[in-house]
Symmetry: C2
């Protein structure tokens, strides 16, 4: 059985990890093998030394895609929760999964910047506004939204439950 | 079901990948899920930018251990074929696997340096002798053999078949 890569992209504070963790719990309860790779773990575990230039961000996305693909190849449903701001890098992962016969579901976790900044769960926007984090996505650095994601979650308008249900429906179909 | 990490360490040309690929074929034929992570793929897929200092080699080993652990956690038998010259870094992986409840089999793929150099399947010793590869393990850089590996394969004395059988016996027990 081949797994699936569910790729959650969006601004910091948009709700990627929240949706990933809630979906993980439901999928695990239904007996599937599930793994969440989130941005912090990816940086810590196999991207130490990479920075936040476009080149380094794209390499970070490529590595996350590679590891997710390895797991999915062995039947794991992998939820990747990663800002992954550049469209071309995400599409590169999509193409590699297609070439490997692994289903790929891109989930655009979308909320207006102002909402994400008001949530600021890790205090990162505050630090970025003070100039302590250069190249912060959404402020100095661009975020390129997906043009045709399989799922869009409007986390400023929809509940977590609705978002998770839409992600799981996409997985079933 | 939890998988296993089979960690093949040894000099370049000692026969790590040969044993890994042969074991992979047998394990797959018996219906297990198997993945080989070899040194070149590890460098290419999630360690671009790392060099060959002790620090970078140790980080490379750590990453390989992390990815192998992720796969084994989901039931995959993972064969890691990596020079991994430093004992402490290998033992660190061993400890992390133990903490995660993942069986860890260290395989010392052992042949005298002269034999490895005479095989030189990738021409690396030749290049290193010409000064084109600094910090080459076994020449300028040290190789610290395991003190108590689960398996030792003497590839100068034993056939590939014998080596694979010894690895698979360790896996069964």
């Amino acid at each position: 059985m081949t797994g699936t890569v569910i790729w959650l992209t969006g601004l910091s504070g948009s709700g990627k990890s929240t949706i990933a963790r809630a979906a993980e719990a439901e999928l695990r309860a239904s007996g599937l093998r599930v793994e969440v790779l989130d941005g912090d773990a990816i940086r810590e575990e196999f991207s130490r030394g990479l920075g936040y230039s476009k080149l380094d961000r794209d390499e970070n996305v490529r590595r996350a895609g590679y590891v997710a693909g390895l797991l999915a190849h062995h039947g794991v449903v992998v939820l990747v929760a990663l800002i992954s701001p550049y469209r071309a890098a995400r599409n590169q992962v999509r193409q590699e999964m297609a070439a490997a016969g692994i289903p790929f579901i891109e989930v655009f976790v979308n909320a207006p910047l102002e909402i994400c900044e008001s949530r600021d769960p890790k205090g990162l926007y505050q630090r970025a506004r003070r100039g302590e984090i250069p190249s912060f996505t959404g402020l100095e650095d661009p975020y390129e939204p997906p043009l045709s994601p399989e799922v869009e979650c409007r986390t400023d308008l929809e509940t977590v439950e609705t978002c998770v249900r839409n992600v799981l429906n996409a997985l079933k179909s």
